[in-house]
């Protein structure tokens, strides 16, 4: 498919590349990464550009790879009056995202107790297939949680107000209406609060080495203030609840495309006008699932604090475990951007893409207002993660969005064929990373070599300027679902 470089790090596929495209598509990448981009990504992002009411170019971030409907790493903005909303642009795991916690502890303090700590975390944070959460919910409580997200956790004593202000949109998206959620979604979600799940979801103990801090001032503002500091990273989402909401509405939207006469190139792009009963019902149900995911990561954070208190025999104040940030990377949000010279209200779809608001933007906690939003990027279990900061350029060019991870290059099946889970575990332990996994076979699917080189992907977004490097976080202990 035809593409041309329009500036350093950005390639454009013109509207003439495929019949029905309403806007061009743009690939954010680097000279080396663009060569390995698969054809599926180009097909999928140009399919997105064909959807009605798309307000500007359909974008794909440097970690982009083949998904269902949208590519993973896909970002698109649709007019709230003329455009659509599509579950295929959000993902089955609604508000899959990251939570990063800082601590006062250092590597020397944690290393001797790491096995004990991991065992405790593995006991407090249920992981794997068929696990049950530790917070029993009545129907009424679950509905309240769907509406109020982190605010519900604060009222239940599971979160602090400080946690709440360090979450994207304070962990409470609206409008959220439990009346738009099916009984099936309710049934799947009600017993899973505080569980990690499986697949690529994890809880990681990480260290911030001095040489891996690229912007010491911003790092300090984000709470990284001592050498060899220990941080805790959580990657998970809305569990069965979000998956059921997506499954339910995929069926609703399959009928809606016929009702509204919308032409789609892929059944996973089933959608409805945002301003239609079907579109609004999904948006309200999606927000319920997103609030559930924020609460899920919060309950996990609550249990992480418990585990640290138990193992180190210190108080919360002494441990200083606080939320640096919590951000979604599978979500649709109503936001305003200047597109074609005029301000437009759009529903931004981020599918495997993270919000990246720059300094001075609304919805930033006052403590970060002048440095920009923390952007949390999860790498593979072996390569580590990154803490970035959002930029004004992202708000100008990419509807306030950036990448979300390293991006897969090998399928789970291929990864599993290349290494056994127990061998990978030994290899990681030799490299100083302890692992507790609910499934050894599942572990092999997440081997580092199954992903793109995260350093290269981060370098690309930093150079393009849609987020900037603050620090790299190296894993020392991993709990995998």
């Amino acid at each position: 498919m035809e593409r041309r470089k329009i500036k350093e790090g950005v390639w454009e596929i013109p509207v003439t590349a495929k019949e029905g495209m309403n806007t061009p598509a743009r690939l954010y990448s680097s000279d080396s990464l663009i060569e390995s981009i698969d054809q599926g990504v180009m097909e999928q992002i140009t399919n997105v550009a064909c959807l009605p009411g798309i307000a500007g170019p359909a974008l794909c971030m440097p970690d982009g790879h083949w998904g269902y409907g949208f590519p993973i790493g896909g970002v698109a903005a649709f007019s709230t009056s003329e455009g659509v909303i599509s579950p295929g642009g959000i993902g089955f795991d609604i508000n899959c995202g990251m939570r990063l916690l800082r601590s006062n502890l250092t590597l020397d303090e944690v290393k001797p107790k790491l096995p004990e700590l991991l065992n405790k975390l593995f006991a407090y944070v249920p992981a794997g297939v068929g696990t049950k959460g530790s917070v029993p919910l009545s129907r009424k409580e679950f509905e309240q949680l769907m509406r109020d997200g982190i605010d519900w956790c604060v009222k239940k004593g599971l979160a602090t107000r400080e946690d709440e202000e360090s979450v994207e949109q304070r962990g409470r998206l609206h409008p959220a209406d439990p009346g738009c959620v099916s009984k099936k979604a309710f049934d799947r979600g009600v017993s899973q609060l505080g569980t990690l799940g499986s697949g690529n979801h994890y809880l990681e103990i990480e260290v911030v080495k001095e040489e891996n801090v690229y912007d010491p001032e911003t790092a300090r503002r984000f709470g990284l203030d001592r050498p060899d500091q220990i941080v805790i990273n959580v990657h998970c989402g809305s569990r069965g609840f979000g998956h059921q909401v997506a499954t339910d509405y995929l069926q609703v939207f399959t009928k809606a495309v016929q009702k509204y006469g919308i032409k789609i190139n892929d059944r996973e792009l089933a959608c409805a006008p945002f301003d239609s009963p079907e579109g609004q019902d999904y948006f309200k149900a999606m927000n319920c699932a997103a609030n559930n995911a924020f609460a899920n990561r919060q309950v996990i954070a609550y249990n992480i604090r418990r585990a640290f208190r138990d193992v180190f025999g210190k108080s919360d104040t002494e441990l200083g475990i606080s939320t640096i940030y919590d951000v979604a990377h599978n979500i649709a949000k109503v936001e305003k951007y200047i597109i074609d010279g005029k301000e437009q209200e759009v529903v931004v779809h981020r599918k495997g893409a993270t919000r990246s608001f720059g300094p001075g933007s609304y919805d930033l906690p006052s403590k970060y207002r002048d440095v920009g939003q923390p952007v949390l990027v999860g790498g593979s279990m072996q390569a580590g993660s990154y803490l970035l900061a959002g930029t004004s350029l992202a708000e100008k060019e990419t509807y306030g969005s950036t990448l979300h991870g390293a991006g897969r290059t090998l399928s789970r099946m291929k990864a599993k064929k290349m290494i056994r889970g127990d061998n990978l575990r030994r290899q990681m332990e030799d490299d100083g990373i302890l692992v507790r996994a609910a499934s050894m076979r599942g572990l092999a699917e997440e081997a580092g070599f199954a992903y793109k080189n995260i350093d290269e992907v981060i370098k690309a977004v930093d150079e393009i300027g849609i987020s900037r490097k603050v620090a790299k976080l190296l894993p020392i202990g991993n709990i995998k679902g």
């Binding site: 269902y68 049950k132 049934d187 799947r188 799940g197 059944r267 789970r412």
Partner: protein, 116 residues
Amino acid sequence: MFGSCAAALFSVITDLESIEKSVERRVDLRAEELDALLYDWLAELVYLKDVHRELYCEFRIELQQHDGFHLVAAVGGELIDPLRHHTRTDVKAVTYHRLEIKKTDSGYEAFVVLDL
């Protein structure tokens, strides 16, 4: 084909041979198209697995075509036991991504992508 797809789904999660039959669930579904029925059938199994925390190994299915398609099934399996069921990964959703049902000389062939 519906039984084979169901068995394939649970084979992704664990070894089918490790699942015993001690509970039975009933499924009753209707759809206008065969592929939509296959999607609904597999999505229903994912739902039952999560809600009851069970794995299934036996699928007795009756399929009728009359004004669309009607599937009635008895699904046999048991509660997930982490000591006996060595799970590989979970199946979280069924997708329409490249979903295809083909008629072949020996029956039907289906291609389904699952979200893990």
